[in-house]
Amino acid sequence: MISRLKEKGAGDLLKCIQCGSCTSSCIVNAVNEYFNPRRIIGSIVRFNRLPDQDPWLCSSCSICVERCPQRVNPLSVIMALRMIKYENGDAPPSRVFELIEQIKKTGLAFPLSNEAYEKRRSLGLPELEMDEESLKEVKKILSEAGF
């Protein structure tokens, strides 16, 4: 499992000494102790088991990366777990696909609200529309990635 995680960009998990600096800095753990980066890495390196915690709960704030004394990069492990779970058929939050669909539609990840549209006009801001050629290129990249 470790080599599969590394293929997906995970850092050097075997350097982890289970000190818990990641968990004690983790904002998600501070509101819900179920999410525990130290245990996520522990279940992989000590028990060779895919952790049961949901990697999509991570806020990607990267404080675990900054503070890890062993330079393990716990965030990279969590991101790799997202990819592996996806490949194993575990659906990510539907919001992920909504964002991707929106990029395919307009090139931007968020739709323009009516309120913002009116405000843009009244402030004399430039048109948002992406040219067709560019949008085609963006769609192609995303569809080739399977989206």
């Binding site: 819900n32 990510p92 990029i103 913002a116 801001l125 430039p126 990249i141």
Partner: protein, 246 residues
């Protein structure tokens, strides 16, 4: 200079976009905005395909002819991470990516600018992706860039407990996202500040949804100090009344 505003500011916060144009115009920065640039697809949000992320930003990079100024720190992180990988992979020169806070500090120092005292107390929401992991923009454990800019602009940066905490804006699960936001909003409210200031549009959106304090982008306060019309850049009457020299 190439201006990269990002998705959220253009679709949700036109007042911030207006403020950015005001600032660039007033300090005399010539810039271009490539029409064909797409979302930078930050990995924290998309995560499913590193390759698609890299290709989208390789495409963006081809459109950028000069240093890229980002107005959202998530864009800053996504673009600079992607460009670094592309530079190593293809052994090519890549454009520098500069976050708005750092850009302002450099410009104010270069031109020796200081603005009249406004007496507005500002609590900074430091965006995670500007600081971490060590991006050589600011001190990750004691960030000062945005605070120094605020001081030069005539505002009072205040320190508070949990200053480095993430706002939770990129958490997908709603209950968890809201719990983290409320925790952060409480800390901000206890700081005694008149408003919250950030340089990340995700922090802006997240905190605006829960905070009793007004949440502003640094660009808005920059434009205000430089004399822009407060109404156009989204500065409310209530906030103006709290200032010494509005």
């Amino acid at each position: 200079m190439t201006l990269y505003l990002g998705c959220l500011i253009r679709t949700l916060y036109p007042e911030v976009e207006k403020a950015v144009y005001e600032v660039l115009g007033r300090i005399g920065v010539v810039f271009e905005e490539p029409k064909g640039a797409s979302c930078c697809a930050p990995l924290g949000l998309f995560s499913l395909s590193k390759n698609a992320w890299l290709r989208l930003n390789e495409r963006n990079m081809r459109l950028f002819q000069s240093t890229v100024l980002t107005v959202c720190d998530d864009c800053f992180a996504s673009l600079s991470d992607a460009f670094k990988i592309l530079s190593e992979k293809n052994n090519v020169r890549v454009p520098e990516v500069k976050p708005f806070g750092k850009f302002m500090l450099e410009k104010l120092e270069e031109k020796g600018l200081r603005f009249s005292f406004k007496g507005l107390r500002c609590a900074v929401q430091h965006s995670c992706h500007l600081l971490r992991p060590a991006r050589n923009v600011d001190n990750a454990e004691n960030p000062m860039v945005v605070k120094n800019v605020l001081e030069k602009l005539g505002y009072i940066p205040v320190s508070y407990v949990s200053e480095l905490d993430c706002c939770g804006g990129l958490v997908f699960e709603e209950k968890m996202r809201n719990a983290i936001a409320r925790r952060k909003a409480e800390a901000l409210e206890k700081s005694g500040a008149d408003c919250v200031v950030t340089t990340c549009s995700h922090c802006m959106r997240q905190l605006k949804s829960v905070s009793r304090l007004p949440v502003l982008h640094l660009a808005q306060l920059s434009a205000l100090s430089m004399g822009a019309n407060p109404e156009e850049i989204g500065i409310s009457e209530i906030l103006l009344r709290r200032m010494v020299n509005p």
